[in-house]
């Protein structure tokens, strides 16, 4: 926390003391999401490239000095972050761009980018002496919170909509969370969690409400910059549900730019599913976000009422990026191409960003001489049912070479 200046409301602009321990702006209520502001002049004196060259902490905590956490207990968490970034050969040439870098966030401890927020949540809850943390989630934030909390000896109460995939549910239960499957959509799930959190007084990890969650998520952008030797790509693409992740990606690049470690902020490509695209619609029609249906296989971004509309919209507009939507069919096709070209298995929402890159290339939004980094936000093993929809059936064969020869003439 030592370089944190203050909290500032993203709606009314009021500033609050960093020791106030607020979730949202007391004046604006739930819509008054707070932003955490740092003293960049002080940071410039401490943080530079050689600071990172000499930093042997290969986890998200290597950025601790640019985060809103205290040092104590950081060594006790799961090891989140420093996920691999791969330069694509085959995929980049398929879509006809110069350079494509794929950040595989599915290799975080609970297999999604959400671990970056959850690791911060458990540190915060722990330092406040709280022993129960709660959240509502379409799946990844929940399983991530449950896993990270288990590691720290904290209890969790998790609200998930009934449609959560089996893999994510299994994670929650294995991590020992109290799981409430809500008979309803994400909106109803979120509302119930909010009431219960107020009623029982649990620590609230709902990402939109808690400003420190975005501060955890921003580390993915910092890693992309550092792994690419501080030469940021022209575009960074990510799938969008609540708006918190893309808000975090923007914040990460904003902080690095403000410190002087990068020379510009990449354009952000916000990608939504065609069946659930309130951000995209608001952008195209140039009006406020309106509730939409939640009709996509990409469960992690199936959010009809985004909880962080301001940070989400600002991320794209301030970076001079844009929004695209992709169909479920395109998402399934992308899963297959990404797996077979690069050996990376993403879940539907995880590869939606890449699907959006393909579309943006086709439509000339991304030019062939531009460089792109895409964030694969979650592991395909979380949602095997949809993966099996994307692929052909295996050959089923008796243990007999003569039978096999019939199926197999080519090789």
């Amino acid at each position: 926390m030592k370089y944190v200046n203050s909290y500032r409301c993203t709606v009314c602009g009021r500033e609050y003391d960093k020791n106030d321990n607020l979730y949202t702006c007391p004046k604006c209520g739930d819509t008054g999401i707070l932003d955490i502001e740092y003293n960049y002049e002080k940071l410039k004196k401490v943080i530079n490239k050689s600071y990172f060259d000499n930093n042997k902490d290969y986890s998200m905590w290597r950025y601790r000095d640019v985060m809103s956490v205290e040092d104590s207990k950081l060594s006790e968490t799961l090891r989140v972050g420093w996920t691999p970034i791969y330069k694509s050969n085959r995929f980049a040439s398929i879509i006809g761009i110069k350079e494509l870098y794929i950040k595989d966030e599915g290799l975080n401890p609970t297999a999604s980018l959400k671990d970056r927020a959850s690791a911060v949540a458990v540190i915060k809850a722990s330092s406040e002496g709280r022993d129960v943390i709660a959240c509502s989630s379409t799946g990844n934030a929940a399983s991530s919170l449950a896993g990270n909390a288990a590691r720290m000896g904290l209890s969790t109460v998790i609200f998930v909509p009934e449609r959560a995939p089996q893999g994510k549910l299994a994670q929650l239960l294995i991590y020992g969370a109290k799981v409430i499957c809500v008979k309803g959509d994400y909106r109803e799930t979120f509302q119930l969690s909010k009431k219960a959190i107020d009623y029982w007084g649990w620590y609230n990890r709902n990402a939109a409400i808690n400003p420190h969650m975005v501060e955890g998520k921003k580390t993915v952008a910092m890693e992309i910059a550092e792994q690419l030797k501080w030469k940021v790509p022209d575009w960074v693409a990510v799938s969008v549900g609540d708006g918190c992740t893309i808000g975090g990606v923007y914040k990460g690049f904003f902080d690095l730019f403000s410190i002087g470690l990068i020379d510009r902020i990449p354009k952000l490509l916000g990608v939504q599913a065609k069946g659930c695209c309130p951000f995209y619609t608001a952008f195209i029609e140039n009006k406020p976000l309106e509730p939409t249906d939640e009709n996509t296989i990409a469960d992690s971004i199936s959010v009809g009422i985004p909880r962080n509309p301001i940070k989400g919209m600002n991320a794209v507009s301030r970076s001079k990026g844009t929004w695209v939507v992709v169909s479920d069919e395109a998402i399934l096709e992308t899963m297959k191409i990404l797996g077979s070209c690069e050996g990376i298995f993403g879940e539907p929402a995880g590869v939606a960003g890449l699907s959006g890159v393909m579309k943006a290339c086709r439509e000339g939004i991304i030019k062939s001489d531009e460089t792109v980094s895409v964030i694969v936000t979650g592991n395909g093993l979380k949602d095997v049912k949809n993966a099996l929809k994307a692929t052909p059936k295996p050959i089923v064969c008796q243990p007999n070479i003569e039978e096999l020869k019939k199926y197999f003439v080519k090789y």
Copy 2:
């Protein structure tokens, strides 16, 4: 390869030139598994602790100088290895031992330890100009090969027994492998793959046959030693199927000991499932391995006829370790405890090693003042069906706080 001396047959002891490119001993046939021998005197002059302090490659290739691979193309593979090792607080106190370290191999790119062998396989196949790699596997070696091969632009043909879990099957198909589901057990699957590999002339990744696979797997032991600052624990526990992984673990410690980086080789605890334990039975009855049933939920170690009996048996006996068996019920219970105490989600075969540690502690094999490291070999997301067997059901609730209060009085 520059520090490799030669190949040596584990059966007859004959030595072969390192450039001979052999799979097994030409005199002994398939049982003549080869061992790769290094020039430790030369290595001692190059490899020491400061060599690793200055090594910024945080993947298994940081050990490249003690491996049987050439440098070219190593930077193109998936990022395998340097998985986290966690010091346990809660689990260690539950089982009453001094120190327990848990190595989470489920965070490898395709979510199992097998990536360490597959990464070597694709490098070898690629440097030999081969474009099709084949293997038979109960699942993890297969999905791992498929993913690692896809990254390098190689094709794969994979033979799996029909019982392979959906998660592993989904991985194979997403990675674009040609998948042959064999109507039979692992033995029949292995035999068919062998015939097909001979017939079509594909590169053979079957771990028992190919001596370089063990050289990849040994890096897990090297990482344990380095991550524990070269102070090895008294015991290292790992689940055993074919015998290759534990053979690799032994080889890793043996190499480090021979170079002088560690002062002793830890005792290895080989853990098998009660329903499929040919190594354990051979050890207890002090006679050669005999084929057994394959009757366990731990599919990755459900191997009735281990393909690498010599390296497997030698690993335990030379390290002065021992063997234990665990029931499927114990494995499921361990999955739940590991998840809720430490936030680590292992598949059944993945946690069998830890289940064995619990048993060995109860039986006084591991003493309370001893230190233990256990390898969780694969991610629980690969086998969600069994995870759901291990856990209680979630609460299903209408989106109504009054209804929730009925279920929830405690918090």
